[in-house]
């Protein structure tokens, strides 16, 4: 599978990563190589094999649906680049 510059730009936009022209060019080559190498999995017949969901056979534990933590917005937002009044602050999203 070969990936071109436009495909890289499309995935980068899905992943919200800004790339410059040179990075996009380089990544098209690198991703094509990696995906080409990964392609060898298609040799294997996996008909009827269940996709793995968990490496350890265990049932996910359930707990009571109750609040167990919280009530300290200042602590939660302590590392935010910008916070105000106990909220995260972001650039304007609504005109």
């Amino acid at each position: 599978m070969s990936v071109d510059k436009n495909t890289v730009a499309k995935i980068a936009s899905l992943a919200r990563i800004r790339l410059d022209e040179a990075q996009g060019e380089a990544l098209a080559g690198e991703l094509s190589n990696i995906l080409g190498w990964i392609e060898q999995l298609s040799e294997l017949d996996t008909e009827g094999v269940e996709p793995m969901t968990s490496v350890v056979s265990m049932t996910l534990p359930l707990r009571e649906d109750a609040v167990t933590d919280g009530g300290y917005p200042d602590k939660v937002t302590a590392n935010a680049p910008e916070a105000a009044h106990g909220f995260y602050a972001v650039p304007k999203v609504v005109e």
Partner: protein, 491 residues
């Protein structure tokens, strides 16, 4: 290297118990060693004041008769574990200035057991790498050099800072995390012991996530016994990690009886790679002989899907990483690059904050999970992963443990393989299959290459049978009698 910094964890524990040294004295020696080892760049953050305060508190606890399992023992903490109030970077620019307001379960368990934190060790960015070269804080040097060649070598990765620090005698032990080999490969490169527990044995809570279905914290130290002592303190059932196993933590150290008579050890024929250096093959054969001499029976086994493990890993790990790393958006922590709109701010922040390898993996992950490719790549890989796990399950019907080399080469030069991602990924060819199957593995230093560099052998065990793993590794360690020292030792 002082007498105190060359101790094993077990040896230091005995001296402390006998009152022949104090946590303070032991910690002062290690704080000085960490400083002396700065040229290695093994630590991103040194915490000498915290270490001394923890040591004093430890001596008080001991005096009050309340000594824990690791009471007063100074260790390094991989900078992937969140430590309350102490800068936690994951080796990434995007976590600039992040001071967690909470403690990871594993690091908390270690402090509760009395361990002393020397600092946060360097690593590949978000644990993505096999050389420690992808760290935003710069590469780490391996304290070993080739005989007659002064060029610096990588310590392996991603837990390269931890491996380098332990090998150079600036910490008695250190934590690592292993997703595809990130504890075992650097341990092999630096001539120390590195152990990856069964997935679910140690809590992942508070460990910066890379690939959640694979990530597993584990101990790194200079002897098998020391890793056994550390693991007992690190492991616990943790309701905050839904994949944490609710099973008692055994006394792993007690399991190391040295008696492996009658045990069956599998030798997987598919691990004999074309073009593998002769010295790796020779060491492997030597390991087989050692186990046989100790009374074990070795049998050839087949793990037929081994060849497909790396490509499977390079779909699953990036897919999970692309999802896990979505949280780094310039809103909640770390770096923010300004943008006119929210989307532009995200793109600018992530474009600037992630390094080349992280971008590569997030993009591969995004691609294999995107509409139209999800089934062909991601689901295909999850099916192959089931086959790989089945290979091991079938092998373990007839053997107790498996012996393989840890890595296909000794440590390589700083900066080598950087322009060829696939060549770099091949470092993990022997460690990735067990990671995909969630199984425990340990690397022990077993010999030297012709250039005088350490080489590791890997023992793999059954799920949650770390006791057998430590027992076999201990017997192998005794037989190997590895006592070579790196060229650089912290003064």
């Amino acid at each position: 290297m002082s007498e105190l910094t060359n101790l094993t964890i077990a040896g230091a524990r005995d001296l402390l118990e006998k009152g022949e040294t104090s946590a303070r004295e032991l910690t002062e020696a290690h704080v000085a060693a960490v400083e002396a080892a700065r040229p290695l760049n093994a630590f991103i953050t040194e915490t000498p004041e915290k270490a001394l305060a923890m040591a004093e508190a430890s001596d008080k606890r001991r005096a009050a008769g309340e000594a824990g399992l690791l009471e007063g023992l100074p260790i390094g903490m991989k900078d992937l574990f969140c430590t309350e109030g102490v800068l936690t970077t994951a080796g990434s620019h995007i976590l600039d200035g992040f001071h967690p307001t909470y403690e990871s379960t594993v690091s908390g368990n270690l402090w509760n057991a009395g361990a002393v934190m020397l600092g946060k060790t360097n690593l590949d960015e978000f644990a993505m790498g096999s050389s420690n070269m992808t760290s935003f804080y710069g590469g780490v040097e391996n304290p070993w050099r080739r005989a007659g060649d002064n060029r610096p070598l990588v310590p392996g990765g991603s837990s390269g800072g931890s491996a380098s620090a332990v090998a150079a005698r600036c910490a008695l032990g250190a934590t690592g995390t292993d997703t595809g080999g990130s504890i075992r490969q650097p341990a092999a490169f630096c001539g120390i012991v590195g152990m990856k527990p069964t997935y679910g044995r140690c809590s992942r809570w508070g460990v910066v996530a890379f690939a959640s279905s694979l990530d597993q914290p584990g101990p790194m130290a200079r002897t098998v016994q020391d890793t056994a002592i550390m693991l007992r303190a690190m492991a616990s059932y943790d309701p905050k990690d839904s994949t944490s196993v609710d099973a008692p933590v055994p006394n792993y150290e007690a399991a190391m009886t040295g008696d492996i008579r009658g045990m069956k050890i599998g030798i997987p024929k598919e691990y004999r790679l074309d073009g593998m250096p002769d010295e790796i093959e020779a060491l492997w054969q030597q390991g087989i002989k050692w186990l046989e001499e100790a009374g074990a029976e070795t049998v050839e086994i087949s793990l037929p899907h081994t060849h497909y493990a790396l490509p499977t890993y390079y779909i699953i790990a990036p897919a999970e990483a692309s999802s896990n790393l979505a949280r780094y958006d310039g809103v909640r922590y770390g770096l923010r690059e300004p943008g006119e709109s929210l989307d532009e701010m995200y793109e600018a922040t992530r474009g600037k904050g992630f390094g080349a390898e992280v971008k590569r993996r997030v993009l591969i992950g995004t691609y294999v999970l995107s509409a139209g490719y999800y089934d062909a790549y991601y689901n295909k890989a999850r099916r192959v992963r089931s086959l790989i796990a089945r290979d091991f399950a079938q092998a373990y019907e007839s053997v107790d443990a498996i012996l393989t080399p840890t890595a296909p080469s000794p440590a390589f030069g700083l900066g080598d393989k950087m322009d060829d991602p696939i060549a770099m990924y091949l470092n993990d060819v022997f460690t990735v299959p067990a990671s995909l199957a969630g199984l425990p593995g340990i690397s022990i230093p077993a010999g030297l290459s012709k250039d005088g560099l350490p080489l590791g052998l890997q023992v793999l065990g059954k799920a949650f049978d770390e006791e057998t793993l430590f027992k076999v590794a201990g017997a192998l360690e005794t037989a190997a009698g590895f006592d070579a020292l790196p060229g650089f030792l912290a003064a």
